[in-house]
Structures are given as C-alpha cells and as structure tokens.
Amino acid sequence: MLRRRVEAGRVRADVLLTLTQADLRARYGRGGFRLVKWLLDPFALLGIYLILVTFVLDRPGEAPGLSLACAIVPFQLVMSTVTNSTGAIQARESIILNMAFERTLIPAATVLTETFAFIASLSLIALTMVAYGVAPTVALLWYPLVFVVNVALAAAIAYPAALFGLWFRELRVFAISLVRAMFFLAPGLVPLSAASETAHDLLQLNPLTGLFEAYRDVFLFGQAPGAWDMLYPLGVAALLFALFVPVFRAEQSQFAKVIE
C-alpha cells in the first residue's frame, strides 16, 4: 500500500517536472537569452514605476526604489502566474484532446515555471539594495518563509485563474487587469506606513499587502516580518485552495468538451 503510494507520488512528480520543463521552454525559450528575459521581466512589468518613484517623483522615505522593488518582485510571481494560468489549459489543448493524464497538475506546473523565472528576478532587489547602500541583515533568514508564502499565494490563485481563462476566455484580459489593479490596492508604490489611516485598514484586506510588507521587513528594515503579514496571505491561499482545487478536479473531465 505504502509502496504503491510512493510510486504514485513519483509518477506525479515526474509529470509535474516534465510539464514545467515543457512550459519553461515554450514560455521562455532556450539558451542564454532565457536568463536575460527572466532578469528583464520584472522591469518590463512594473519597472517603469521604479523609474517614476526613484528618479521622476524623487519621493522621500527610506530607499524608495528598494521599497518599490519589495512590492514589484513578489507581485511579479503572482502576476505572471495569473497571466500564464489563464491560458494554461488552452495552451495544452493538443495533449488534453489526445490523452488522459492528471490535469490538476497543469496549474501547479504553471506556478513552478514562474517560480524559476521569479528566482532570477530577485536580482532586482539585490541591485536596489546595492544602489541604496542597504546591507543585508540577519532578518534575511526569514526570507525562505516569506518565499513560501509568496509561492503559496501564487499557486492558490493559479487554479481559479486557469478555470476563469477556460470558462470566460473573452474576459482574460480583464482578469489580468483586475490582478494588476490589486497591486495598486496594496501598498505597492509606498509602504503601508505612508498610507492614510482609512486606507491603512482597507489595504490590509488585500493579501498582497502582507506580502509586500514582509519583503520590506526582510530586505529593507532588517526585521522579522509581522505574523499577520505572513498568516493573512497564507490563510487566503488556503481558502482559495479549499474552494478551487475540488472544482478544478471535478471540471477536468469537461476540459476536452469546452476547450474546442
């Protein structure tokens, strides 16, 4: 019984890794340019705000460019996961129509693909730390935990995003815009401490808020992230998983009907 479970787990891991590898090639190409694209992606996505805040607006506050990078980088993972997930099922149309396999691994592969790209985009934070002369502190030891929360939130959003892209394919662009709006409904451009009192409480309802603040704590302020900042996004992720993974599982047998 246990041996069979272990074997089934290995097979699933194989499928997940192979889907991810194929996704990486299809989305990011091959060779050295892939790394360049990964490095440039966060700049292309929201880097313009980095230039705006740092150079054009010349905002006061502690290392405003690094503060912004601490929001752009985690958001990059969520955003690229949603973008990729909304078309993830259609992108695999030919295999979905040809053979049976566990389709619940498709969004998971999407997250894994974007996580590889995301790791490269961490260089944006390192670069801005150097630019502002912010030295790394012992608080960096908290980063693996923050990273897990970041990936968990992206993974949890991947399932509803994939279903939304399949069910409402004409609204895909709208969904992506909606997620982009979430960045501005969180303390992305400025830290939470700089928001007004009314906005402060409302912004905390956005799970991205805790994530951005946790990144700032670790990389900018050199302190441990707040428990709420970690637990709230994790709770939202758990809720999304609980709601949408069963729906995705039930829907997977319908993909071949709906996809054409």
Binding site: A22, I95, W167
Partner: protein, 240 residues
Amino acid sequence: MNAASVEVDGVGVRFLFDRYRRVVSPTIARLRRHVTETWGLEGVSFSVGPGEGVALIGPSGSGKTTLLRLLAGVLTPDAGRLTVRGQVGSLLSVNAGLLPMLTGRENAELLGVLGGLRREQTRARLDAVRAESRLGDAFDRPVSAYSQGMRARVGFAVAEQLEPRILLLDEVHEALDHEFRNEVERRCEAILSAGGIVVAAGHDHPMLARLCSRALLMRGGKIAADGDFLSVQSEYVLDP
C-alpha cells in the same frame, strides 16, 4: 498480463450549450439561465475483445471522435459504464498531441511521461522514437515547422514507446505517407496478433479494412450497425 478489453455499456456523453451555442461545463451551466443540451453519444453499447480491430465509420459529427476520446480517458461518460483494460496509446488530434513550440524530441519526452513512463525511461527511449519517426535532424526542430504527416509520425512513434495494448487512431494515420502507413499497418497487426486491440476512425476505408475486421457505423451519436467490416461499410455507402 491481463487480456486487453473494452466494455461499453449504455454510455452517453452530454454537451451543454449556452445561448450563443458555446459549449459550457456543468458548473457554468448552473450559473446560466438559457442552457440546452445535446448528447454527443447516447446509449452506446459494445465490447471489444483481445485481438480485435474495430473501425468506426460514419459521417462527420456522428460521434466517432467522441467515442475514441471516451476510450482514451480524455472524456468521461455522463451516462452508462465504461471499462477499458490495458495500456492505451492514442493519436486523436490533428496535431497528434504535440505542442508546436517544442521540438519533436521535447514533445516525445513530454508525451512519454504523460503516457505513464518514468522520466529516465522516456529519455532512454528518445533515440528509438527518433529512429522510428524517421525524421532525422528534424526531430530536434520545433514542431511548428512540421507538416501534419511529420507530426503524426512523431505521435505514432511515441505511442509505440508506451507499448500499448490498445491503440486508438482518429484519422491522424490518414495524414501519413505511403511508406509510414505501411509501418502503421505492420504495428497494428503486431498489436492484434499479441492479443491487443486497435480502434480506428476515418474515411480511408481501404486502409481501415486492412486494419480492422469489424466495424461500427455511427449515426447521430448512436451505433447504427455493428458487424464485419465489409457489410457495415456497404450499409454506410448505400445510405451515407
């Protein structure tokens, strides 16, 4: 090894449409007010035993592809019972299951793992897939540059590596050139003589006749006739 078999008992596949005639899933149908339904397959019953080749013939839209997708596990029945025993190899879409951005080799690796092989097993067999597909250097080029026939070659070579006891073919084999068709026929014969099953749909009746001794005539999602190939074919030709 258990004998390959297919048991289809009163199987139906239902399609739900919204008011714009787009197919919707049952979850979305619950949220929409105007939903209509059509049964792509209805009350389909038959069984296939070891060593049997079965052709699905009938006009376009009669349910041949839906039935093959059901047998492949791509679709699940909305009514009735379906039992498929034996490793399935399938070539059911025009693209033969290949992703255009990947090379033939990368697709072969992906399809091998999705088909149930371990990664290291798949990698060990890639050179065999390359040789069997007879694509030469094109095997390492993106599939987007392949002709339909080249895609079918890779798809078939991968399906072969899965050592299927049940082979499902949906018109894809018709895109193949003469030489590779002979190869497909040889492989089908080998599967059948080893106690496997071949189910093939298409409009190339001479080829189907060589692969299959039995035929099912599909009309409107139902089986209109089931018998030896020549008699079912003549029924279809007389009243297409």
